[in-house]
């Protein structure tokens, strides 16, 4: 409960306060009278009742008619303010929101896709709601708006934010295992920030494959860091064996490009053992062949390096990494970043000590699950950076590799 001064929240809150106010008075009235009667007419004081009244036409009429009048005002107030939630002011920016198990995708009129809803301050926003699979519900408590996304049907909500900030979006209609994690946010930007955000992105600092993975919501079921999820993790896939079921037969194969492409275009053709067949197929209309190749390149570890790693330096600064890690080779609480891209390290994995070469995959895991592989000689105290977006993580990794 924050952001009271936006139009949709005000419409809802006024009704809530009106109804809760009346309810509180009624509840107090009933409770006080009951307690008073129970104490006053207790049997120890009145062994026999002092009245045998059966009812009272007058009283009963009053307490039938009065509540009718009260609830009718509640009904009408609730209805008129609801109408305000449906009537969109002029000049609204339209954004298309698509819900799928278990993430949100926002598409702007110019075709740009995001996993968070970036909007300018003080402009009405109309969010068109769609679902690709089951029911979900678009819920932003700060604006008191909620509406189900229904497959095969379009609906909408609108809101307007008077102040920049970040506001939670939840999925409010139950949709399976990922329901509670289907959260993202409305990022309300000041006019200047929004104008900047509108600029076309620099020729992708992020590998295209990762962008697609993020946009399509793959990462809500598959992790990049080796954590098991609803689907198998995408960590270090190239050349790994997989136990899969093809035509009801279970067999082992080695992950290669062909395997990955089929797994995306037709997931049920090759089911990895131990997982449920719930991944939707992604056809050419959803991921075109070029993007598919980019995804496969990325997963096979062949992604081209990012061109602007400088963002990574800034992120490391902002997130306090340098409090423990040095950049000049001096040893501190944690290993130094100097030359980290050329080093080998000895780590403890699954109780065994092994020595590995530091690469993109290693660093990603080190950032997201810092204490899974522990560098020899250090204690498990590093917090995970999993609150950063995959793009941000990637920028940091590219920066680290160049140290």
């Amino acid at each position: 409960m924050n952001q009271l001064n936006n139009p949709t929240a005000q419409a809802v809150d006024n009704v809530l306060i009106y109804i809760f106010g009346f309810s509180l008075i009624l509840l107090l009235g009933i409770t006080v009278v009951t307690v008073y009667f129970v104490v006053k007419y207790r049997r120890s004081k009145y062994p026999e009742p002092t009245s045998q009244v059966h009812g009272s036409w007058l009283l009963e009429t009053i307490w039938t008619v009065l509540p009718i009048l009260i609830v009718l005002t509640m009904f009408w107030y609730g209805w008129t303010n609801y109408v305000g939630l449906r009537e969109i002011p002029e000049g609204a920016l339209e954004v298309k929101a698509t819900a799928r198990m278990w993430s949100w995708q926002f598409e702007y009129p110019d075709g740009r896709k995001e996993s968070k809803l970036y909007v300018p301050v003080n402009q009405p926003i109309k969010v068109l709601l769609f679902s690709t699979d089951v029911l979900h519900s678009f819920f932003v408590p700060a604006f008191r708006i909620k509406r189900d996304t229904v497959p095969g049907m379009e609906s909408y909500v609108w809101f307007q934010a008077p102040e920049p900030g970040s506001y939670d979006i939840f999925c409010a209609e139950y949709c399976g295992v990922g329901h509670a994690d289907m959260t993202t946010s409305v990022e309300v930007l000041s006019e200047a920030d929004y104008a900047q955000w509108l600029q076309p992105l620099e020729p992708s600092a992020t590998p295209r494959g990762l962008v697609v993975l993020d946009e399509q919501g793959c990462l809500s079921c598959h992790s990049l860091d080796g954590t098991d999820g609803i689907g198998p993790s995408l960590f270090e896939m190239a050349g790994q064996p997989r136990q899969v079921t093809i035509n009801r037969e279970s067999k082992e194969l080695i992950i290669d490009e062909e395997y990955l492409k089929l797994a995306i275009r037709d997931p049920e053709a090759e089911m990895v053992d131990g997982y449920n067949p719930m991944m939707p197929p992604y056809d050419e209309a959803t991921i075109n062949n070029e993007d598919l190749q980019a995804v496969v390149n990325y997963l096979m570890g062949k992604a081209e390096a990012a061109k602007t790693p400088s963002a990574g330096a800034q992120l490391m600064d902002e997130n306090g990494c340098l409090g423990c890690h040095s950049t000049d080779g001096s040893d501190g609480i944690a290993p130094s970043f100097k030359g980290i891209g050329q080093r080998e390290v000895t780590i403890e994995r699954d109780g065994k000590e092994i020595t590995v070469k530091i690469d993109v995959e290693y660093l990603r895991r080190a950032l997201l699950k810092p204490n899974a592989d522990l560098v020899k000689g250090y204690s498990p105290i590093m917090p995970s950076a999993d609150y950063l977006s995959p793009e941000e993580i990637d920028a940091m990794i590219q920066h680290l590799l160049q140290q």
Binding site: L16, V33, F75, A172
Partner: protein, 541 residues
């Protein structure tokens, strides 16, 4: 406490068959009632444990004692058991069977064999529901509402669970038919409609809903199975079907079902308040008519569960209006109960304490319903833990407490023994406090915006979730204490006479426990109203 033997063991020792078959094949309404009571309390305890597990999971963000899939299965099974196996049959099937024929002066229900058949439908349904948890693709994870398209896609054992619910529906319908007929045909001489205890009026209203609305549930559940097994496509948008159609079908039964759950509870309270005030129920006819009004108007408000579903705004206007109308008869009942206390002679025995707690809890649940009935405010509150708090206030704080009141009121009649009062009062206090702490906190965190059916939540919701979980522990202690005390009372409590509370309805004029055919040789003749306490004296115990 030393155990004193009962002088009279009533229907427990009179049966055409002996041993366990004397129960399993019995058509005596009292034996069937006791069997329902036993099964319902067992299922209640199972589902309470699941509820406590849900609350424990929610004590902190992130997976605490279980992951998302287990949590989803747990709230689904908790919901299915509580709704279909506990609350719907709780008062009508258990206490309705025990009390209804005696209160109208009959020797049994109209169709005793049908009555036994409905018990078997209940058992089959219960067994199927339990098998569904442990077999097939795993415990169902759809929520008790089985919303499509999720329920037609999930690989868990939905088919079996749905079949179980279907059997339970049959059980409920058969009981309804039996009760309507019994009330029309088997009233004793002198038992005019104006002399029916209000408990009978509420069972009568409930029975009509059971007969008229439950077939809708059957059809809806069968359609889910057709959809899953044969891909019928009725609810599949890609093939011209409509997922929202399912929600209408589901709620056309399930909203009236909430009145199946609450009306008999209101009936119990209407018996207990006059007895422990020694005064006629205030506004008898208003109470009787409002029960019928609730049953009728309650059938017209189903789509108030669907304001955010994508349904048309015109439908929202209509259903919001009707929802506010159905609030009126419930309000009238509350005012009449409170007025009954006026100038009475009030005794705070355990049944009365539970009845007073019912009024308080049900008032909170009903008033919360107003905020959910208004279109604008429901948009924010819908599908948050506010709703979870709200329906626990009505179903647990309401019907649940009425069930506890009924246990404390009628068990001495049907077992012949009185439980001890002091532990009963302490248990009541724990239940009342624990209940309100748990669900008030859930309502509050819902207003803040926490969606329901979440095993994980943002840190800002933690404080209230911890409060709710701690409250559930107090509640649990209260439940243990209450059931242990009642159990001790059943086994070795002090024997009671015919009428330990000084009640005026017919069941208190025959021995405790009652004999096989209730009334001995001569049929009873009724000469006074159900709340006429003049000359009625409570037996010492």
């Amino acid at each position: 406490m030393t155990k004193i033997a009962l002088k009279n063991t009533g229907f427990y020792s009179e049966s055409p068959r002996s041993g366990i078959l004397g129960w399993l094949l019995s058509t005596d309404h009292k034996r069937i009632g006791i069997m329902y009571l036993f099964c319902i309390v067992t299922m209640f305890l199972v589902a309470v444990c699941l509820g406590l597990a849900l609350r424990l999971e929610l004590i902190a963000p992130g997976p605490t004692i279980m992951g998302p899939q287990t949590y989803n299965a747990t709230f689904t099974v908790h919901g299915i058991i509580m709704i279909f196996l506990v609350i719907i049959p709780s008062i009508p099937a258990a206490f309705g069977n025990l009390v209804l024929p005696i209160q109208i002066g009959a020797r049994d229900v109209s169709f005793p064999k049908l009555n036994l058949l409905s018990w078997y439908c209940y058992i089959i349904g219960a067994v199927l529901a339990v098998i569904a948890i442990f077999s097939g693709g795993g415990a169902p994870d759809t929520g008790w509402t089985f919303y499509v398209p999720f329920s037609t896609q999930t690989t868990t054992n939905v088919n079996m669970a749905v079949t179980g619910a279907l059997m339970l529906g049959f059980s409920s319908m058969l009981t309804g038919i039996n009760f309507v007929t019994t009330i029309h045909r088997l009233r004793a001489e002198g038992m005019g409609w104006g002399r029916l205890p209000i408990f009978i009026w509420t069972l009568y209203s409930t029975a009509w809903i059971q007969v008229l609305a439950t077939p809708m549930l059957g059809i809806t559940l069968i359609l889910i199975v057709l959809e899953r097994v044969f891909g019928a496509g009725l609810f599949d948008a890609a093939r011209g079907g409509d997922p929202i159609l399912y929600q209408h079908l589901f709620w056309i039964y399930s909203h009236p079902a909430v009145y199946i759950m609450i009306l008999p509870g209101m009936g119990v309270i209407s018996e207990i308040i006059p007895t422990f005030s020694r005064k006629p129920l205030f506004g008898y006819w208003a109470m009787a008519i409002s029960s019928l009004a609730i049953a009728f108007a309650g059938s017209l408000v189903w789509a108030h569960h669907m304001y955010a579903s994508g349904m048309s705004d015109f439908a929202i206007l209509i259903f919001s209006f009707l929802t506010f109308i159905v609030a009126i008869p419930s309000a009238i009942k509350i005012f009449n109960w409170v007025s009954t206390l006026y100038k009475g002679s009030i005794q705070l025995a355990p049944p009365m304490l539970h009845a007073l707690a019912f009024i308080f809890n049900f008032a909170i649940g009903g008033l919360g319903g107003l905020a959910l009935g208004a279109a604008a405010s429901d948009i924010h509150l819908h599908d948050t833990t506010f709703v979870v708090g709200h329906f626990h206030y009505t179903m647990f704080g309401g019907t649940g407490f009425a069930f506890f009141a009924a246990l404390h009121y009628w068990l001495p009649k049907f077992t012949g023994r009185m439980y001890s009062h002091k532990p009963a009062v302490i248990a009541w206090a724990l239940l009342f406090v624990g209940f309100n702490v748990t669900y008030m906190a859930m309502q509050a965190v819902g207003i803040q915006g926490m969606p329901r059916r979440y095993y994980d939540y943002l840190p800002e919701f933690q404080t209230l979730n911890v409060v709710a979980t701690v409250g559930s522990w107090v509640l649990a202690v209260g439940l243990i204490m209450m059931f242990v005390n009642l159990w001790n009372g059943i086994r070795k409590g002090t024997p009671v006479g015919k009428n330990p509370w000084g009640s005026a309805t017919l069941e208190w004029s025959i021995p405790s426990p009652p004999p096989l055919e209730n009334f001995g040789e001569k049929d009873p003749v009724v000469t006074k109203g159900p709340y006429d306490y003049k000359g009625v004296i409570a037996d010492e115990y």
